[in-house]
Symmetry: C2
Subunit: 224 residues, 2 copies
Amino acid sequence: MSNYSHVLVVSGGMNSATLAHMCVKDGGSPYLITFDYGQKHRKEIEYARLLGENLGVPHQVVNISNIQKLLGGSALTDDGMEVPEGHYEVSNMSITVVPNRNAIFLTIAYAAVVSFESEYGGAAMHTGDHTIYPDCRPEFVNILGNMQKIATEGTGNPNLSIWTPFIDKSKAEFAPIGLAMGLDYGETWSCYKGDRLHCGRCGTCVEQKEVFELIGTLDPTQYQ
Amino acid sequence: MSNYSHVLVVSGGMNSATLAHMCVKDGGSPYLITFDYGQKHRKEIEYARLLGENLGVPHQVVNISNIQKLLGGSALTDDGMEVPEGHYEVSNMSITVVPNRNAIFLTIAYAAVVSFESEYGGAAMHTGDHTIYPDCRPEFVNILGNMQKIATEGTGNPNLSIWTPFIDKSKAEFAPIGLAMGLDYGETWSCYKGDRLHCGRCGTCVEQKEVFELIGTLDPTQYQ
């Protein structure tokens, strides 16, 4: 039997913190992976480490920043491009797309799923991501899960599956789940800019502020 | 329009050399990628570079060796494990499986396909790989191609597709294609051991010898 039921791809943000806490609360024993893909907001990696520490579960940073050689500009990785400000909308946010990011993250996570004979690979995509990130949509998650069963047939856990419990939920729907579990969202990092404090103006900051307003809870995030 | 029609995952071996030459002969303009994933037979990387030079097309080595942190032992990467000798058969060759390798390689290649607005991602899986490598089978290639269409929808070339022309061919079927194009298989590297000369005893060496015998052509490989 495996030591780890789930291999979860986590950033240091609200979504993946909620995912990992939920996994543990439901009796899972997750192994957490965070990718260093050359993102400017490297600060999220420290918060992902803190997430593992707080939960008492293993956490590994995997450096694949060399893939930058193959990528055109994304505002999240390219020093010559400004992270856009404002609401998440296709018009200004499309330059934050890192092509194929979740497919790459999840296929690497599934290599660990096979090695550990775990049952689940997982990540925290949610409905707010669907518009601009094609690899956050339910149709992507479904086919990725099926692809992984075929790609690893006979080599790992035969019941291998995908776990993305927020795929049909909005952030305002799952944030209360985290709060109810006592998760301190002040110990997470979402801002794409990665300065000392959250900028409060990029797409992910704007989204986060709205969520706390919507659910009527004080946002523990310190903004600039 | 893209500068590169194809992004091809190549090792320095016979299969990928034939693939890349065929692509160029058919009028394609490939961009070649080789992965450093911590393989012991690192020598293949030099031969992959030579392949790009001989064809006059760009070649990039992408270092993802950090993923080793997540993998259990494979004889291809683990210093504590011997590369098995003999014929490719499940019984002794299964320890050469690197879990999910082609899924990882291809998803990273497709990030480049999107960036370059190329039409094809491709690799040189063939029928000889099917028995022990689940991610070399036609059902894998089909679903991977479909997954990539969904994962990248709206971000790259809308006609994006997968190119694996050897998926239903044996090495003995496509090697003559390479020979007819004037490809010098003496400038390729297949051996899993990666010493000065091909060992002549590991699965891939045994397979290569058999192929040249089968097609009645002198094997240009220098064996120990």
